[in-house]
Amino acid sequence: MAFDPNNLMQDRITDIGPPKYDKFFPPVIKENFGKWKYHEILEPGVLVHVAESGAEIYSVRIGSARLISVDLIREMCDIADKYCDGYLRWTTRNNVEFLVSDKSKLQPLIDDLRSRGNWFPIGGTGNSITNIVHTQGWAHCHTPAIDASGVVKSVMDELFEYFGSHKLPAQVRIALACCLNMCGAVHCSDIAILGVHRKPPFIEHDRVQNVCEIPLVIAACPTAAIKPKKVGELKSIEINNNRCMFCGNCYTMCPALPLADGEGDGIAIWVGGKVSNVLSVPMFSKLAVPYIPNEPPRWPTAVNTVKKIVEAYAAGGRRYERVGDWINRIGWERFFEKTGLEFRHEHIDDYRLAMMTWRTTTQFKF
């Protein structure tokens, strides 16, 4: 039965969930599920997985922008139809993997991908800088301090040599979130790029009572900075600017409290986080640079700062050492020295439990 806009209940299907995960497995994956023996990275971006039965599957990993059009997906489909019997997958970090079951098609696939300009860069495996996980930015969200896609593109252009090579001490995971809500996983990344607002919201008193539920706005503020206030005849609110940490929650609840500001907003950079349990335990990213101005279209200062950090790490990190492990070994005083980044008062924590981060020993390096 065709869709009938006047009778939505007709023939309605709900709660069917996603297609089952194995519906789109290549046959070799289906047959060897749970029976893989080992894998090897043949060259950056090209993996082989070998099953106990001796069966093999090759994966060619390419970077993508995450924000992609249906035409680009169709082009990927054309490629997968030609070399992969129509099978491909996406990784958690927005890369695409072409799944090759027939070894004779591997090299032709690689050659084909390389022949298509800059659409399908091969890499993102091993000790590389793989794709940047990121959020929406100006493309689609309402609270961003910075764009996401443009910053990611600019950083990846600059670090491109590391995407298709294995020359770093360990893998480097970069993430970007365009505001403090951090819809992404930035807080535990080797390098995190975070959009920050630096001005509290302004209040459009004439609109507040018409477009906002005042109690909800008050409840939304994590630092309890918002109080109700009458402005003449108008029911409105006031904000204790000294308590505001620029999270934008109140704006989400109430569009009469805008906080974006082209000149106030910008980028903070964080370093040394990780999520894997390998060698060292998971770690949060810590502040490296509190503020860099918003510089569209290519954010040169932010890009160069990230590059400086990567290069200092590439020069000083030991094999298998993640950025955070490297910093823990050399100490923060050395980190700021080696990267040439300025240490400022913003680096010293003054939020809750701040004293956990102060140095309570006479051990440090001169």
Partner: protein, 424 residues
């Protein structure tokens, strides 16, 4: 054909070796009015250094409380074709395997009924159809469920679309079947996914081993991470082959040169628990000391493999920094067998949800509630027994809230008897 809106700033992002989203969308613009205006709006954002989207209002499909994010542009006068630009979250098949047939169907649907732009994928894991209008939502949902066999994902205060690593489908280290676990949870809790019933969002993520490729420990209210309790399997022949330079260490992740591998410096001495020994012929592991950090296994994948008594560690409470500060998930079940139909695990989940729904405040993530009520209350509510594996260290403050039930006489003093012993 000339572009509708000039985009001199965005055009700068067409340069360079990384794929350009600008070039991609510009290719679409001649056949999509939404793409055309989206480019103009983006250019304006680049110029103003401010976004131009307004927060959403409630839009969605009948009977569902999530899956669509309302979005309106604040300059419909200039860019009428993106006046409405809602997002539809579509639940991805676990760990994102596709064939080209289903992808082409999705592309056709979204070109016909939306902007033709997507996120593959959103951070939660969903397929994101970026940009459509309110009147297209029901038709999109109808076609998704009828023709594609797909359904919406989560948004709002509900269970969000669960996601896992690719697990046993292609990874030799996976100790649990992450894909089946994710699929099973997604199907079992469809109601919680589509109809907000929680104080705030709730996320499951599953990784097959402690490498945690989906960052479960940092990004999910309930993290399921595969592990094992017995011994690392060792193939001594293969260890010698690594040492002898016949095999490439680290599966080639650090380059492919052979022969330079120093097992002592690169494995034995780096082992965080110092539980390995290499005498030149045999590798010995004191498994009772191993904390399963995966390092030796990932460096010599053809020689070492996780054990066979496999299951998962369950951790809860990760959340982003807003409010009480960021949290990683904390261990609450050090080991659980994860076998279908996952009854023991689901019992835990339901106790946890019941407690959270009763005690959680509006917009309080699980981790925040646990911080407020204490881990001990949470453990009690879920019938879990305290275990040293749940902590890094016992407390180092003396402010213990003793349970009156465990003190003889509870909180009552015998004042009369006291004064018989002590003068006032």
């Amino acid at each position: 054909m000339a572009q509708k809106h000039a985009t001199p700033m965005l055009d700068e992002l067409e340069k360079g070796p990384w794929p350009s989203f600008v070039t991609d969308v510009k290719r679409m613009a001649p056949k999509s009015k939404m793409c055309e205006d989206w480019l103009g709006l983006m250019e304006m954002s680049y110029r103003d250094k401010e976004g131009h989207w307004k927060h959403g209002g409630i839009v969605g499909v009948l009977g569902y409380g999530g899956g669509v994010i309302g979005r309106y542009c604040d300059r419909p006068d200039l860019f009428p074709n993106v006046a409405h630009f809602h997002t539809v979250r579509v639940n991805q098949p676990a760990s994102k395997y596709y064939n080209t047939q289903i992808l082409r169907q999705m592309c056709d649907l979204f070109e016909r009924r939306g902007s033709g732009l997507t996120n593959m994928h959103g951070s939660t894991g969903d397929i994101v159809l970026l940009g459509t209008t309110t009147d297209e939502l029901e038709p999109i949902f109808y076609e998704l469920t009828h023709d594609l066999g797909m359904d919406l994902g989560g948004s709002g205060s509900n269970m969000r679309t669960p996601e896992g690593c690719l697990g046993m489908s292609r990874c030799e280290w996976s100790c649990v079947d992450t894909q089946d676990i994710i699929y099973d949870l997604t199907m079992e809790y469809q109601d919680a996914l589509h109809r907000p019933m929680f104080p705030y969002k709730f996320k499951f993520k599953a990784s097959g081993c402690p490498c945690d490729c989906v960052a479960a420990i940092a990004r999910s209210d309930c993290s399921i991470i595969g592990t094992w309790r017995d011994n690392i399997r060792i193939d001594q022949e293969a260890v010698r082959a690594y040492v002898g330079g016949e095999l490439v260490p680290h599966a080639g992740a650090g380059g492919r040169e052979k022969g330079s591998f120093d097992i002592k410096a690169e494995v034995v001495d780096l082992c965080p628990t110092r539980c390995m020994e290499w005498d030149g012929k045999t590798l010995k592991i004191w498994d009772e000391d191993c904390t399963r950090c995966m390092h030796c296994i990932r460096v010599m994948p053809r020689a070492l493999r996780p054990g066979l008594d496999t299951g998962a560690t369950i951790l809860v409470g990760a959340k982003a920094p807003i409010l009480e500060g960021a949290q990683l998930s904390s261990v609450v079940i050090p080991f659980i067998k994860m076998e279908p139909p996952y009854g023991e695990f689901k019992e835990f989940v339901e106790k946890m949800w019941d407690y959270w729904m009763e005690h959680g405040k509006n917009r309080e993530r699980l981790g925040e509630m646990i911080q407020r009520v204490s881990l001990r209350e949470f453990l009690k509510a879920c019938d879990l027994t305290p275990d040293p594996r749940m902590i890094n260290t016992p407390r180092f403050n003396p402010y213990i809230f003793y349970d009156p039930a465990e003190v003889p006489g509870g909180w009552e003093h015998d004042g009369v008897a006291f004064r018989q012993r002590h003068q006032a």
